[in-house]
Symmetry: C2
Subunit: 752 residues, 2 copies
Amino acid sequence: MAKDKMKTMDGTKAAAYVSYAFTECACIFPITPSSPMAEYVDEWSAQGLKNIFGQTVDVTEMQSEAGAAAAMHGALCAGALTTSYTASQGLLLMIPSMYKIAGELLPGVLHVTARSIATHALNIFGDHSDVMSTVQTGFALLCSNSVQEVIDIGGVAHLAAIKSRVPFLHFYDGFRTSHEQQKVEVIDYDDFAKLVDMDAVKAFRDNSLNPDRPVIRGSNQNPDIFFQAREACSPFFEPVPDIVNEYMQEIGKITGREYKPFDYYGAPDAENIIVAMGSVCDTAEETINYLMAKGEKVGLIKVHLYRPFSAKYFFNVYPQTVKRIAVLDRIKTPGSPGEPLYNDICNLFFNADVEKPLVVGGRYGLGSKDTLPSDIVAVYENLKADEPKSNFTISIIDDVSFTSLERGEDIDVAPAGTIQCKFFGLGSDGTVGANKQAVEIINDHTDLFAQAYFAYDSKKSGGITVSHLRFGKKPIKAPYLINTADFISCSNQSYVNVYDLTAGLKPGGAFLLNCVWSPEELEEKLPAKIKRYLAKSKINFFTINAVEIARELGLGNRTNMIMQAAFFKLARVIPIDEAVGYMKDQIMKAYGKKGDKIVNMNNASVDAGINNIVKIDIPAAWADAADEPVVEKEEPDFIKNVLRIMAKNEGDTLPVSAFKGAEDGTFPPGTAKYEKRGVAAFVPRWIKENCIQCNQCSFVCPHAAIRPILLTEEELKNAPAAFETKPAIGKQLSGLAYRIQVTPLDCMGCEV
Amino acid sequence: MAKDKMKTMDGTKAAAYVSYAFTECACIFPITPSSPMAEYVDEWSAQGLKNIFGQTVDVTEMQSEAGAAAAMHGALCAGALTTSYTASQGLLLMIPSMYKIAGELLPGVLHVTARSIATHALNIFGDHSDVMSTVQTGFALLCSNSVQEVIDIGGVAHLAAIKSRVPFLHFYDGFRTSHEQQKVEVIDYDDFAKLVDMDAVKAFRDNSLNPDRPVIRGSNQNPDIFFQAREACSPFFEPVPDIVNEYMQEIGKITGREYKPFDYYGAPDAENIIVAMGSVCDTAEETINYLMAKGEKVGLIKVHLYRPFSAKYFFNVYPQTVKRIAVLDRIKTPGSPGEPLYNDICNLFFNADVEKPLVVGGRYGLGSKDTLPSDIVAVYENLKADEPKSNFTISIIDDVSFTSLERGEDIDVAPAGTIQCKFFGLGSDGTVGANKQAVEIINDHTDLFAQAYFAYDSKKSGGITVSHLRFGKKPIKAPYLINTADFISCSNQSYVNVYDLTAGLKPGGAFLLNCVWSPEELEEKLPAKIKRYLAKSKINFFTINAVEIARELGLGNRTNMIMQAAFFKLARVIPIDEAVGYMKDQIMKAYGKKGDKIVNMNNASVDAGINNIVKIDIPAAWADAADEPVVEKEEPDFIKNVLRIMAKNEGDTLPVSAFKGAEDGTFPPGTAKYEKRGVAAFVPRWIKENCIQCNQCSFVCPHAAIRPILLTEEELKNAPAAFETKPAIGKQLSGLAYRIQVTPLDCMGCEV
Ligand code: SF4
Ligand code: SF4
């Protein structure tokens, strides 16, 4: 890999990069998680970036995805190479225009961050239910399984569309590939330019609607000729697999990375294989390494070109030794005999002149459910069973229809030397930003590969964020959350009572807690579960009072630089001196224009982060710390059995039966009152003497944690003595008592 | 069948009838060919018709199908049993809401007149590409194959939706079943009412969104719980096939007509069978009768419940003797390994514990391409071949990808005694209305079954209409145009030079031509091809001068009653005296209020139609009539090879290769000038002396056949002598000559 072409980016930036090269018009409408693609293209267009034709991309935002697709159709008719970006319901709105674009053989390209479709509930995360809803439109469907593949294969979508006249939908996993920061090698636009079939571009432009050479298109056809005319398109679809394959080979010559419409990974004499597409393939690959090391004959067929579906390219890589196949689909299609990819593989073997393997199908990863190496092991174990289960699920416990395969114990399939770090932060506290910086530092300045993924809960600002960073000597193939960590950091002390922070921390690993507590106070503050884990697993436990340091340095509540420095010190991914240098370079880049004072303040926070780490000697007694007796609260079943589990970030453990009665998406209302967070390090205090009863404080608080209250005399009489009030101002309020009441448990400590 | 329950209606009225029974809210938006369903419901609602709950249906028209589906979702959430009606792109716009409705287990019902989706061209006719685009939404898909089935099975959709909580999409073939007039037995609303699971209705209403018992629905779910909650719906889909089957049995008890999720027809020991759904099943049944009479072991599995797909019910009817299966799909999905039903059947057998048959798949009927018995024979012949072709097409000639099966010679599979009649008319000349009347007369007053289908070209008013009427002692199962006729009538003499009017007329059949020609003039006017056919096939040839009769009776150009009477006289479906009585009854019903004069005028036209038929003695020489030498015109290839064929109503014969270069739907412009019709019996004449140059005549003519023209002196000089003009009025026009020019070939003779 050419070092100067290595960049850190996520899938959306990668897709934006390749698509910009080949795009003349971009017709866009934002939808999570596809929006950044269009945003990058828009930004680069505004900056005057040139595509391979020497033009800046013409970007038009429409009123909806339906409009974006229709505009795309129109622009293609007018002879402009046109691209759009979407996902989920947005893609559904494009379906009518997709039939037209494919029917009129227009080489448009859609880049899709594959996302769940709203059914019983909305879900903004990843699965393939959107893409699978378009299989009949005539678009070619091309899948990339990682950020690097988005670069390598995303370009093939454009190149092959131009050459074949068949439009392409290029997709990759939403909220995994789309939002995973990876170190990737980009392909130069000059290299792309050489691959474009310029004769086809010219033919496309010559075929556009133009009053100077009028034709009729989009007309009506009656029963007499429609069928024949519809069949006439077949010769355009038939060569698509070959065209895709050719371009994959061309890209391979440039990059050294080889792809085919279907790729095989694993034992050449595999007996049990998986067929899948999307980021799960990376998980499967690492699991295969692990299983092959144990002598198992396992393998994986990765689907890149899903439509047109080519039996030829499938059997080109299919080992003749295979006896059993598990097909993984990332979609549930109630009422169908099986999910789409599974159906295709059954159909393939039913009609193929080969020895028939046993084929079972399973569902995984719906709505971004993480698929772990242990799930992949479960799939192979299932294939080894006397009667392998079909129509199975993984990663969940289905105690209703009993489809689920049992997940074995957690396994760590990361290549030796991989360092895995997890950071608990509070939404908008800067943890995520700092981690992105850390990844860039390591990717830009070392030969290491860093991967970063950021898990948010849907409460956004003020919710929990967990950053998952991996560092290794080879490209990181682990598109799932970290469950075996070398280092865990927590920037909010209140989390010790809410989350199982140290779960998955490796024996001898490091745990860093930002807290205001002295070593002695930890005895009282830490829950027994964490204490036991720290002691039994011989964890290196550190604290830092970043909150106080930040205040002292005049940084307010911005503790992120301090925590980042502490991370570099403790996780030892690179020598700390180098890390300090890079961090200070970045500070200069970011704040240089703001003057020395700001720069120095930030530099000081780096030093403080390194120098103020407190190593905690773990008392031997912690190994036997006893849990506080659990006070069973009087709460509705749903709160106890579902909401409390979810609030602890352990919703993954809920079995299917937890949703009995909620199959239609019905949840009880008023659950927020059970879900107080108590995350603020500082809460506002009402200074009665200064209060002019303007209620501005209440208005300003975005979390409604500050509320003005009026009391009658009766109520005041019954209030506790410490409940201070003052007479309410205003004629209509005479006789009432006034008070500003702060709710510490709702306060986010944001200090607005 | 109870005689008082027999009615004449098409599929849209049948669907409207059953859906009204179970519907509280109808959220609608019109799209061809579904619109009449919503129109009937709207009309009946306005008339106060009560559904089985004693309510009139609340009908709301939205701004689009997307709105109709969303309103349907909303109304269902609010606890109203809600229905909509749509097709084609309209159905595509509903997809996002369909996922929600199914996901929230809301028992909505869609009635769909299955229609083609616009690809390279728009097509408003029938195939299954719309319905197949919804297979992943979670809706149950239930198919009716005939108008009677729409009554019998359409109700099952509502009943099963209520009981199972799974929404249903009930579909039947657009423009065939939807617009075919049939004599059917309706089911009383009282009978339907007894079948409704009222506990389920109550549970549905109790589960509605209501501020008095608030719940949260349609919320967001994150990766932690979405997958488990999505799997929780499985137990609702699993029992659907049993529920559908139970209701089919209940309906069977009422009607005596038995249905199952899959039905079998044919030899109990069949070796070669077809699997299909939609109106083609009727064609296949009649063809199977024909082939079984010849000793062939053939059969048909009719799919009613396509989703959820039930292997159990399939194998309940599957003959163990089957060796080969042809699956017919009415959709083309470029790039997929096979069309949807074919894939499902391959998948079924791949996983079933039965001896594997050979399964091939084929496409038929796209965009309402007629599937004839001879096509079905071709499918069975293909199965008998050494290596049956898969991915085949029927009814067309595919000389590009060579998928088509050769159609054998036309066969007549109608039961003995069936009378088949074909009427060529001019759009809006009243032929279609008269034929509808004729069908009603026969259905209402006799035990005969009449079927009527009306083929329009897309020029609407002024285009050709061909009415296809069949009469028989048993329900007519022939959902295709008539290609072997007992009687053919043509109400426009100009057609003799355009269309092959007598094609398919049985030897000894009757041909009635409305023309102003005397028997002697026929010698000159009739083309040789028709003459030869009349002579060689010993056709009984009649003419009638209905145009003159109508004028004489003061009926203007309304010749339809005259032609209808002549039809009854010649086709001998029922005794002529009875027919006259019924026709006069209908005249009284229609015109009674307008006074005796109108009634008598129409009655007279009936008598005149009967009494003015001229039997033509066919000269023996006609058998050898020689074609006029064809003058090869200087025309572009496309005009000669495509447009001229289509204009002759012979577009069906164009092979796939005719659309080479037009695969993307591109046609040359300016073709109208080659397609002059010359259908007017009388054209306007400009009376120069009376003209005040107001140009009103030009403005009024809807076909732009009357145009004012200005000529320069130069032009006038070069004009032929007969080219009359007068000086143009108006200062700016001084020196110019004025003339009104009529184009006889564009004139429709409408006499506006
Ligand atoms: S109401 Fe709130 S903001 Fe206003 S003076 Fe009182 S404490 Fe301050
Ligand atoms: S312009 Fe036409 S309508 Fe007017 S007076 Fe002359 S012929 Fe009649």
